[in-house]
Amino acid sequence: MTLHPTFDPVLQDPQLDGIIKLAILAVGGQGGGVLTGWIEDLARANGYAAQATSVAGVAQRTGATVYYVEMAPAAKGSPVFSLMPAAGDVDIMITAELMEAGRAIIRGFVTPDRTTLITSTHRSLAVSEKTVPGDGIANGAEVLAAADIAARRVIAADFDALAIAQGSVISASLFGALAASETLPFPREAFQTAIAKGGKGVEPSLNAFAAGFQAARDGVQNPVASTTLPRGEEVTGPAKLLFEWSTLVARTNRLPEPVADVARAGLRKVVDFQTLAYGRAYLDRLDQILTQDRAPFDLSRAAAKHIANAMAYDDIIRVADEKTRAARMTRIAGEMGAKDQHLLHVTEFFHPRAEEIVSLLPARMGARWAANPRRMALIDRLFNKGRRLRTDSLRGFLSLHVLGGMKGWRLKSLRHATEIAHLEAWLATALTYLPQNYDLAVEVIRCRRLIKGYSDTHARGRSKFDRVLAAIAEIKDREDAADWARRLRESALKDEEGKALDGAIATIRSFA
């Protein structure tokens, strides 16, 4: 909550003192209309003249929508109210999503002389943020920082989560926050009466109202909605394996401090993927890098992360194993709200292609088959179709359970051979740059981020990776090569087709 008591209002209109101007910016479907209705009823029931307007239309289909309310004591006649909020002229701005608060600030509806900004800190991501192949999520901290400057007072909390916890929607918790803000001259009970008069889902609404009221009055610990999940570190298993595990963990503890924590996470991932021996191989690979590294160990830190990801590649065996774990069923039941009196059916969607089938074959045989288009076509005819498996049924579970248990087979498979060859080539490339340009080597290690997904997506990631590495080779002797490598990688993550990457590569070619 921020106050700017020292700031002087620009204009004081004594004749306007009576009108309270309140705007609501919501995303279609958030119940902005309901909230507006409550505020209007509240005002009228307490001796105020009120007017509400909204912009209907297609914006209500998931777009950003404005609702606007004005009120004044109903004494001497009908006040002339405006039909839309004006920049610099809003007393209370309620935004039902964090970026909408940013939009309200951009539109000038939040000003330091008068506006109390009540905003939910949760995010409802816009399509443009979600479609980026990398990380396109807008920076919420920037909006909150701007809000502190732009508003006279900020009340921010995850009002969406508060409402959902009460089985209600955000309009109710925001109404609670509005009551707590004491910006309207009505007591809390009057707000609750307005909800009760609405008549629909009154009890959950009142509970969400109370939650919103409390959060707004007492503040909350963490205003930025957490979109992350903590990851447990507990390890269980047979004593013999646990002992071996502890020796490997001891090895990571001896690593330089910046590398150790990532290496532990990496170790966990590869051991979970395969075996303890595989974990040892991971640490051996990392040691090789470390011998050529020096403080502050950026290279080893990046390597610890990306070697783990490369070694724990996404094959069918891993997917089958993940899908059949006991913890998963418990997690799904929790997320779906399935209790003891319910049953839970879980359907998985697989679509194996010849490539995936062949990748499971022993390396040499698989390579021979993969090179034979007629044979591949035949396998496609036999296997390439969507398969839905019920992991709660015996047949579905067993087939995946067996597949997930093929870890011994995995190391002989074509897929493993391909992945390890790719891994070694990539590390070798990075290390060739090391003597002349340390930062470039680090950037090349980080390019592993480009490889992700399955089937076509995976192939596209591979091809982007190859193009980026080829482009890096062309500029390796430039002083700013590392910087360009970073830009190439980031541009490759901007769009699916690689248009941004094409542009970046064209720029590089223009240097020559």
């Binding site: 009908s78 002339v80 479609t131 390890v235 679509h351």
Partner: protein, 715 residues
């Protein structure tokens, strides 16, 4: 049944004289129609007057009791044509649609109606879709009134003024034998307030009575030589009659002092915005009492020269507040001043921007600018010499993403466009024409399918130039709303008659969904007063289109994709039409949710599906989102130092439509999606089977976990 129900509010329409009505603008208009003794009502839905049609539909019983005929017209042209009943019969009629697009569609009928002239009051209520929230091209309805010489009312945006405009409109129409347009802006339609009601009036002559006593008069027919007489009648009789009526009734209003060196002329609809600007400048109080003379044009066409010149008398400067372009009113008023050899200086566009909405900021700047020129002494000191440091507010324009409208959660149109996207990946980009409706959202990311729209029902017609065919086929998309509005005649007969080789995809979601879920010819719902359940494919067969593929579950992405591919590659000549049908999810949820909840409570077996994503399997490429854009399919950052990119995640708003699984399968994306069906009230046999399965599965899991390390999963 429409998306929003007004059944409760309809009770307010029965209020009698002296009682206070409190509610929304559109309800007030409906009440005013009943108080004016209207005999028939109709129209076509579209923002911002969709709800007016919904109110009328919900009030149908009350209307019938009063002897009022309600017609849900097939389109705006049909609605306007219906006003023909007021040509020969002294019956008041009102129709409503959005402007200017609805007026465009209706223009043929409106022009004929104006030429014929009316006996009973004829009112066209136009919801002017201009400025923020508008979904159409930014134009004005105003010139339509001018060209056909219909009178145009633009009342002040408060309930008493709007209600008065309805009854004034009927009186004006009858006094001048001319149809009248009543224009209400987006926010006026939804503005709330109160007014004192009058008793509802039964029409003096009902349409049923009129049928029993038919009338005709060839002088009203638009044919030469009568059409020439109509034009003379308009100018010599109807126009002067209208002017006289407007002056006598005082339809335009005057506020503020009579004597001042300056004044402001404002469209009625812009009055509140103007007063707010004056309030902020300290020149008006909260009740609108002002020191600046204001001439309010509640009638914006015709403009009354004498009244305007009287207002200008003794004033050096007059500001015209006229939103939109071209500035018809300003031009006309300027010509009045010029002809009167007046020395009053006219201000308007210039101080105001030519294009765009007159927002609070625009209004304040323009009025302030006007006063600085015309009467600087009136402005408060702080405005004349602003001297306050504003803190610099960080620029967020680069941070905050735009949020255009898109398909709702579970929308049945999403899989259609996902399928089109998959076909595009195989066969390359195609020429695509779109129509009007929710499907137009597909032209935005993530789908970016279709690049133009030519109007409602005109999607396939917009591909006319390509009907001859070529190496690739043109594709047109049209909704079921567009199909029945105008599409069958303008688009599909055009395709059939010209032997088009193109492809048309009809998105059939059982409603006119974008306008709020009204029933149409092919709706699956039972409707007591409308003929529904008429299949689109039957209509297509009727006009000789034989290559028709009916798909009854759009969520079957693979089938959708294969059908589109077939349409684009089949050697068959002639139009190829795919009817892709699944119910609008918004309406389906509204209909089914209460039923499902009741069933669970009653102990009946219910499967509740929802999708989920295994975050350990998702690699964070977001390819699934690029084929979806569903609001419930979002992203989540993991607390994992090994992962850079956020993973896909499905929130609890998922309705389990199935699109995610279908797309993951059809596009061969990734195996991280799963569908979880929670079975409420399972049968005893199911429980036993599940217990048996769980026991074996748990044994296998424990056995495997006993041979390996298990790492604490995310909790």
């Amino acid at each position: 049944m429409a998306e929003r129900s007004f059944k409760a509010q309809v009770e307010d329409l029965k209020l009698g004289a002296g009682q206070t009505f409190t509610g929304e603008g559109i309800l007030a208009i409906t009440k005013a129609l009943l108080e004016s003794g209207v005999g028939y009502v109709g129209g076509y839905q579209g923002a911002p007057i969709s709800h007016l049609m919904d109110v009328l539909a919900d009030a149908e019983d009350l209307l019938t009791d009063l002897g009022v005929r309600y017609e849900a017209n097939a389109n705006e042209a049909a609605a306007a044509a219906m006003l023909a009943a007021s040509v020969h019969y002294p019956i008041r009629g009102a129709v409503t649609f959005k402007g200017p697009v609805g007026v465009n569609v209706a223009s043929d009928a409106l022009a004929n109606l104006s030429s014929s002239g009316v006996t009973g009051g004829a009112l066209v209520i136009v919801g002017e879709d201009y400025g923020e929230g508008s979904s159409i091209m930014q134009e004005r309805t105003h010139p339509f009134a001018m060209k056909a010489q219909m009178w145009l009312l633009d009342p002040r945006p408060n309930l008493p003024s709007i209600v008065k405009a309805v009854s004034d409109g009927f009186d004006l129409s009858e006094a001048s034998n001319t149809p009248v347009m009543l224009m209400v802006r987006i926010r006026s339609c939804h503005v709330t307030g109160s007014f004192t009601a009058r008793d509802n009036q039964r029409p003096k002559l009902t349409v049923r009575d009129a049928l029993s006593n038919p009338r005709s008069d060839f002088n009203r027919v638009v044919l030469p030589p009568m059409s020439f007489a109509h034009e003379q009648d308009k100018v010599k009789n109807r126009w002067p009659a209208a002017e006289a009526f407007i002056r006598e009734r005082g339809l335009n209003e005057h506020f503020g002092p009579n004597d001042a060196p300056l004044g402001i002329v404002v469209q009625g609809g812009m009055y509140n915005g103007l007063i707010r600007a004056l309030q902020r400048l300290g020149l008006a109080d909260i009740y609108g009492a002002t020191e600046v003379p204001i001439y309010v044009l509640n009638v914006t066409y015709p403009l009354i020269s004498a009244e305007f010149l009287e207002f200008c008398e003794g004033k050096d400067h007059v500001l015209i507040v006229e939103e939109g372009q071209p500035e018809f009113i300003e031009t006309q008023l300027g010509s009045f001043l010029y002809r009167a050899e007046s020395r009053t200086k006219l201000h308007g566009k210039g101080l105001f921007p030519m294009a765009g909405e007159y927002t609070g900021a625009v209004m304040l700047t323009a009025v302030e600018g006007f006063l600085k020129q015309a009467a600087p002494h009136m402005l408060p000191a702080a405005v004349r010499a602003p001297n306050v440091d504003r803190p610099a507010i960080p620029d967020l324009t680069k941070t905050v993403p735009i949020r255009p409208p898109g398909f709702c959660t579970g929308c049945p149109e999403r899989p259609i466009f996902a399928a089109m996207k998959l076909v595009e990946k195989e066969l390359g980009k195609h020429q695509i024409a779109a129509d009007i409706g929710c499907h137009l959202f597909a032209s935005l990311p993530p789908f970016e399918i279709g690049g133009a729209t030519m109007g409602y029902g005109l999607g396939p017609a917009a591909n006319g130039a390509f009907d001859g065919g070529g190496e690739k086929r043109p594709v047109a998309i049209i909704g079921d709303g567009g199909f029945w509005h105008n599409g069958l005649s303008s688009s599909f007969t055009n395709m059939a008659f010209n032997k088009s080789d193109g492809v048309a995809i009809i998105v059939d979601n059982y409603y006119s969904a974008a306008t709020g879920g009204q029933d149409i010819m092919s709706s699956r719902a039972d409707n007591a007063t409308k003929a529904t359940k008429n299949p689109i494919s039957k209509a297509l067969n009727g006009i000789g289109i034989t290559w028709v593929r009916q798909i009854d579950r759009t969520y079957d992405v693979a089938k959708m994709r294969d059908t589109i591919r077939e349409a684009l590659t089949t050697p068959t000549k002639g139009p190829k039409v795919i009817v892709a049908s699944s119910e609008c999810m918004l309406n389906k949820q509204r209909r089914e949710k209460p039923l499902t909840q009741a069933a669970i409570k009653e102990g009946r077996r219910v499967e509740a599906p929802r999708f989920g994503i295994d975050e350990s399997i998702c690699t964070g490429d977001h390819a699934c989102i690029r084929l979806s854009g569903c609001p419930s399919l979002s992203l989540k950052r993991l607390d994992d130092p090994l992962r850079d990119d956020p993973v896909a995640s499905i929130d609890q708003s998922c309705v389990g439509c199935g699109n995610c699984g279908e797309v993951a399968d059809a596009a061969i994306l990734c195996p991280s999606f799963y569908r979880a069906d929670v079975i409420h009230n399972p049968t005893r046999w199911e429980r036993t089977l599940a217990r048996f399965r769980t026991r074996i599965i748990s044994w296998l899991q424990t056995r495997r976990d006993g041979r390996r390390l298990a790492f604490g999963a995310a909790e």
